[in-house]
Symmetry: C2
Subunit: 203 residues, 2 copies
Amino acid sequence: MSETGYRETLRGEVIAKAGTLIEMEGLAALQARRIAREAGCAVGTLYNLFGDIDGLVVAVNAETLALLGASIGSAGVVLGTLSLEERLARLAMAYVDFALAHQRRWEAVFEHRLPEGRDAPASYLEDQDRLLGVIEAAIADFVPDANGQRGITARALFGAVHGIVALALDNRLGGRSLTELEQQVRLIVRLAAIGITRDNAVA
Amino acid sequence: MSETGYRETLRGEVIAKAGTLIEMEGLAALQARRIAREAGCAVGTLYNLFGDIDGLVVAVNAETLALLGASIGSAGVVLGTLSLEERLARLAMAYVDFALAHQRRWEAVFEHRLPEGRDAPASYLEDQDRLLGVIEAAIADFVPDANGQRGITARALFGAVHGIVALALDNRLGGRSLTELEQQVRLIVRLAAIGITRDNAVA
DNA sequence: TGTACATCAGTGAACGCGCGTTCACTGATGTAC
DNA sequence: TGTACATCAGTGAACGCGCGTTCACTGATGTAC
């Protein structure tokens, strides 16, 4: 379908440069003049390609989410016949690794706010669903799907790990060091795995 | 010691108005002219009182953290002889209630970044320690303190609940509705409680 | 008590900067004849 | 093939705005004599 013309290429390059810039100096460094200079195009071109700066940020964030999805996805396909705890640990560590490897870029996904009334593109939701799908698949053997229980569990687990990671990244509350981050994630994963197993045994 | 003079009173009023403004319209609405107008003082006065706008934000955030600390603290003192799960649930719901009641104000604590090289006041850390202290006290009967295990557990639990709440507040990832938020928090708390109990029984 | 002076928190018009955004223009490419 | 014209992505100087911040000034309060 889409023969990648010059326009597509340029667009991709700008997104890549913008991603790097965010990764290096954070979302606030993504200014029109700055990214134009670093991507080697004119300021006006950014507006041709992305509408406005928010559009560029959204494009970068979408790519970031897709990268995370791919990362978690690869971790998900090799879970084979592992124990529940080990499955959760693999997925959680994939998330931790991604967040640490793309720290500021990952923060930007949550930091950026669209102006009132404008909302994120559909791909955000799709990537989100794909992510949760991987988790749901990983726990499918252990959690029944009655009443959407499996979905709730997947979301709760994702949120739990996310929270621990987020607090560790800006150590405003909670996390002290990277070792502690890993300890905390492994702990919550172990507790959840035990809890899920016992809970089903009882119920 | 500090007779609350006019200056102290004014300072308190400005912080209160700024808190309300953030609560209503978010951190971005806290502009010098705006807060000066709403607090009924001159722009320059803000600089006399807080040094700069970041100083004002820090003051508001410190107050927010103190309020949360008080809230969790009150929940903590009535745990009596409740089960572990019930204890964790009470604390977690206190957190959820606070975050929902002061949504944008609470987001501001995590949204605001001090300029490079300047760091948050000591009171941030103190409030953080107080918060974790409450959680540690709640789990003390169930988690041994060897190797700082209790502290790790407290942080992990806090982070887990925080993550679920944070994702629910901006529903970019994870949380769909408030009912789901509550379901997820109750679930993670139950799983953790079961996990902690069984883990100790086994180990 | 009255007067002259010092102090200093409070004031707000004005400054300067940096940002997102625009738009008249350029020049490469495609099309018609 | 050659010429004239149309198109349109790309350009970047210039615009305008809104922000944080400053600083010469005001006037209320405290102090000295």
